[in-house]
Each structure stands twice: as C-alpha cells, then as structure tokens.
C-alpha cells in the first residue's frame, strides 16, 4: 500500500546549507515526506544520513555529498549533480537526469544510483555488498578513470550511450583496478588498455543477462528511456581474478 505523502516545496537559492538542512530535518519531524526543492545551488549534504521513505525532487545543482550515509530516501535530481553523491549510502535510490561529478557512490553498500549522462573519476570505488544488500550504479554515459577501483561487491553497469564525449573510450584508465568482489558490466566493448592490471573483459552468460535486463528495465523506467534500445547491444563483464588480488603483496609466499 502506498504511503500517504505530505508534500512541501522549498526554494533553496542562496540559503546556507546548514540552515537549509536544518529546515528539512525539522519538516521531516513534522511528518513531511515529499520535498520539492527549487533553485538548489550548491547546498551540501542534502538528505545526508536521513532514514526512511522520503522523496526529494531537486531542481538546480545540489552540492557535495548528497545522500551520503542515507538509508531509504528516494532522490531525483532534474539537473546535474556534483561530487560525492551517495557516499557510503546504505539504501534508497538516487536518479540523476544529467551528468555527475567525481567519487559517486564511494563505499556504497546498498541502494541504487542511476545517472543519465557522463560521470567523473573514481565512481563506485570501494563499493561493497553484504548478504542481500547489493549496491548498484548505472551510468548512461561514459566514465572517467578508476571506475570501480578496489570494488568489493555490488554491480556497476556502464552504458556509454548518452555521452557528451564522442572521442573518449567508454571508461577511463584503471577500470576495476584492485577489485576483489562485485561485477562491472559494460555495454559494447571496452579497450583492453583501459582495464586494470590482471583483469579482462569476458562475455556475459545467461545469469548475467538476467541481472542486466532487470537493472536496465528499472533504469529505463526511471529515466524514460527505451530499455530495448539499451539491450540491443552485447555486454561484457569484468570480475575480480582472485578474492584477494594483493594478498601476497607484502608477504613472501
């Protein structure tokens, strides 16, 4: 059963982030659970560490660490996002209808981040999973270097379709370097030189395709895209080559 929504519209403009977040938190205590934020401009920490079924519709560009440590909220950004979205987030969903900056989903441990266009560097690094908590990031455009570096769990899906960078490879250098868990799926092909040491792109199997199809369906619905179009190409996967790739780095064996 859908929960009853108590809505509130806030205009951020140049309100200082502390005051703005205090206002949001006070309203949540009063029972507001659906925020429309207009003219957002650089306010940091929106929805950070918030829990429960709360919706945010954000117009404008929110500041750093949006949704960090959050557990539950559903955030839609109608414009671009900056750095550090979903830092160590636990659960919930972030949808970015534009591009996003660096270190998106850092050490994320649950929930989803769906980005329509390009992302910056170090997206999804240190992601981890626990039991049925599987963090997922889908990038519609291209990614900078170090995508999924040191990844320990979860799923990254890179589409490379809705990009502003026609000449760039789909992923930057050092893709998945040092990963020891989780999986990175890439639509089409990824140049071997871009992949971190010891890793290789492999063909996906039917189990992978099930995961990809489900994720793409969800992603396409949220961003009003054609899932058939997205699925019309082959996918490859990058998985860790051992559980502890650097386990013997500092000890004789």
């Amino acid at each position: 059963m859908a929960i009853k929504r108590k809505k509130k519209t806030l205009v951020a403009k140049r309100t200082y982030y502390k005051q703005f977040n205090e206002e949001i938190r006070a309203l949540v205590k009063e029972g507001v659970n659906h925020f429309t934020i207009k003219e957002c401009n650089g306010q940091r920490y929106i929805a950070t560490a918030m829990e429960g079924d709360i919706k945010f519709d954000i117009h404008g560009v929110p500041g750093q660490d949006l949704g960090a440590f959050m557990r539950g909220p559903h955030i839609r950004i109608h414009n671009n996002a900056q750095d550090g979205v979903g830092n160590t987030m636990d659960a919930g969903r972030v949808i970015i209808e534009g591009m996003a900056g660096d270190v998106i989903g850092y050490a994320m441990r649950g929930g989803e981040i769906f980005i329509k266009n390009d992302v910056g560097y170090r997206v999804g690094i240190h992601m981890k999973a626990y039991m049925d908590h599987q963090p997922k990031i889908v990038v519609g455009g291209k990614a900078g270097d170090f995508l999924g570096e040191y990844m320990a769990g979860g799923i990254i899906l890179l589409l490379g379709m809705f990009s502003d960078k026609p000449d760039s490879p789909i992923a930057g250098r050092s893709l998945g370097t040092g990963m020891h868990g989780g999986v990175i799926y890439v639509r089409g092909e990824v140049p071997e030189d871009q992949i971190g040491p010891g890793l290789h792109a492999q063909p996906v199997d039917s189990d992978d395709m099930k995961i990809i199809e489900e994720l793409v369906k969800d992603y396409a619905k949220e961003l009003k895209l054609d899932s058939k179009d997205i699925l019309s190409e082959n996918f490859v996967k990058i998985r860790p080559f051992s559980h502890r790739p650097y386990g013997n780095l500092y000890v004789a064996c």
Partner: protein, 365 residues
C-alpha cells in the same frame, strides 16, 4: 605578518580549496561582482586562511607599464621597496591600493601599486638582461632583500589581490566590486601544509602570469631546487609559487607552447607513451627526460592566466575537481558547477575535462 618560524610543524588537515575563473573572449568587461559571488558560493571550500583574485584589463590607462602590487608589513618595508623600485625603474605613477576597513580583517599589511618601465640604459647589475628578465630579477631582489616587503604582482594591465580571509572578505577589503576585467580568477584557500599568511594566499604571479591552485604540489622540493638553478627564488612558503615561475621559464624563456608546458606539469604515463606513434613517443620521452624536475607531482586543479588566455589543468589522475562551462563569449572554469550557475544560470555547455588535458581559451583578437 611573517610566517611563523616553524611553519613546517603545522598539523595537516583535510584539504578542499576552491577555484573559479572566467574569460570573455571578446574582451567584454566582467564586473568584479561575478567572481566574488562565485567564490562566495564555494565559501565552504576554504577556511578563512586565504582568499584572492587576479584581474586582467584593470589598468587600461597604464597598460604599457608594469604594475607592481606591493605588500608591506611596515613603513620600513615601504621605504625599502620604494628605494629599489626607484633605483631600478622609471616610476611613472604610484598610489595606495584602495582598501576599506572591515571587521573580518583586523590587522592587514599595507598595499601600494607602482606603475613602472625599465630605463633605456639601466646603470645597475641587471643592465644586460632583456626587459622581462630584468623585471623578474627585480621581483626576486625585493622579495629576498627587503624585510617585510613582497611583490604580489608585476604584470601589465593586470593585478593580484590576496590575503588572509575568505575570498569574499578579501574582495570587500580590496573593493574589488569597483573593478571590471576581461579575465578573472579567484581562489578560496584551505591551507594544508604551509602557513596561512598574506603572501601565501593565491594567486601567485610573475610578470603577466597568474595561477590559482586547488591541491598540493608534492614535488615542491625538487621543483624549487630546479627553479633556483634558473634564478627563480621561492619566498612565499607555499607550494603553488613554483608553478608561476615554471610557467615563465617554460613558456616565455624556453619557448614551449602552453600545451607542452601543461604536458611537462602533467606528462602522459610511460605506458601511454609506449603506445604512441613514433613522433609522439620521441616527443614525450624527450619532454619527460628534459623537464623531469619540472613535473608537478600530487593532486592539482589549476587555473593559469596571462593577458590573452585562460587555461585549466588537472593532475593526470584527477585528484581535484574541475569543470568548464560556456555561455556565449564567456568561458568559466570552476571547482563546482553551482558556483558557475550562481552567476550564470543558463549555460550553453558544461563538461569536466580529462585529467592531464589542458583546456585553453584564447581571446579572439
């Protein structure tokens, strides 16, 4: 106003400076309020221990003269620096740099500006030097021999304004809303390894070069020694100073293009060089071999300007944010998109440049 003796004992803190730059390609004059507001939007990237701006096109009436912005701790420093300026230059005009008293800045040093030219037949130890080397030599002489006096900038039709405070406070102090420029850069400092003192704020400048920097030049030691061999003496106790002098050496003195200078700062990785065609492989191998001590190691996003250009550059693994945006004849470069949107909500294009690839914007004339 000097940095404390044991400045190297300072504790480290997390870093997060903010930078902003804008250029109008047709020399349209941009009021100071724009960069000031953009820096205000990124207030929290600094901690009040440094703010500053560089502005180009602000002295059209004296555009043919070098403008020395002098920062002096006391009257002795003013007298000492004036003595040197009069000794080495023809002095055409000088005045205090207008400031206003503000609560946020309780005890500022004194600021004056001097419009000078190099005499036709100088009778001093620098007489043999070409004009621009002569200017550099006098800057080094003042910085190293006059106690309490520092040259904040020394270019033509440009100036740097900087100090200890948040950038919006420094702008208020220097009345920057009264200036208009066709290139502005701004900086919000969060000092990490070196003291937050007036000379250590950004921008750093020499001749027409200016630079603002978010990050940390871990190779400061080797860069500084390398520059010292070429008569550039670092006196500001902040890593970024080396970039200003390297720009002058690489581009003006050694004749490198801006692109090549950027590749000295952030060279391609050896494995990338290995995959290049024969010519590029030879070029970049030579560049790395020749300018190894000039390479900047560590995280950086920098904005570099002179009278005709603005360049943004990241370290080659992009450890600091940098965003570029376009609107008609204006190009913006900023740590955060929100700072640009604050002063120009509708943009034609926004993107984040690739690590190690310079974004260079020229004036159209």
């Amino acid at each position: 106003m000097k940095a404390p003796d044991k400045y190297y004992d300072f504790e480290k803190d997390i870093s997060g400076c903010g930078i902003f730059g804008v250029i109008h390609k047709k020399r349209g004059m941009i009021p100071g309020n724009m960069p000031i507001q953009a820096m205000t939007c990124m207030h929290d990237r600094g901690n009040g221990l440094g703010g500053g701006f560089a502005a180009y096109g602000i002295y059209p009436d004296h555009a043919d003269k070098y403008c020395f912005h002098m920062m002096c701790d006391d009257n002795n420093a003013i007298e000492g620096s004036e003595r040197l300026l009069r000794k080495y230059f023809d002095l055409h005009h000088f005045e205090p740099i207008p400031t206003r008293k503000i609560l946020a800045i309780p005890n500022p040093p004194m600021f004056n500006r001097y419009f000078v030219t190099v005499p036709e037949r100088p009778a001093n130890e620098f007489a043999e030097l070409p004009e621009e080397d002569y200017i550099v030599a006098v800057v080094m002489k003042i910085n190293t021999t006059v106690p309490g006096a520092f040259v904040v900038s020394s270019g033509k039709n440009m100036g740097a304004f900087k100090g200890v405070g948040f950038p919006e406070e420094i702008a208020d102090f220097f009345r920057l809303e009264e200036y208009s420029a066709y290139i502005w850069t701004g900086h919000n400092r969060f000092p990490t390894n070196t003291p937050g003192w007036w000379g250590g704020a950004h921008p750093f400048t020499i001749l027409n070069w200016s630079i603002v920097h978010n990050g940390e030049i871990s190779s400061y030691g080797i860069n500084r020694r390398y520059l010292c061999e070429h008569d550039y003496l670092c006196t500001m106790m902040t890593d970024t100073e080396v970039v200003a002098y390297e720009l002058d050496m690489l581009i003006r003195k050694h004749g490198l293009s801006w692109e090549m200078a950027a590749k000295c700062f952030a060279p391609p990785f050896w494995d990338e060089i290995e995959r290049m065609d024969k010519d590029d492989k030879e070029l970049y191998t030579t560049l790395r071999a020749t300018y190894g001590p000039g390479m900047l190691n560590g995280p950086f996003a920098i904005l570099v300007a002179d009278n005709n250009r603005l360049m943004g550059l990241n370290d080659r693994i992009k450890l600091r944010p940098l965003l570029v945006a376009e609107k008609d004849d204006m190009i913006f470069m900023s740590s955060e998109e929100s700072a640009v949107r604050d002063v120009c909500p509708d943009l034609d294009r926004v993107w984040m440049p690739k690590a190690g690839e310079p974004v260079i914007v020229d004036l159209e004339d």
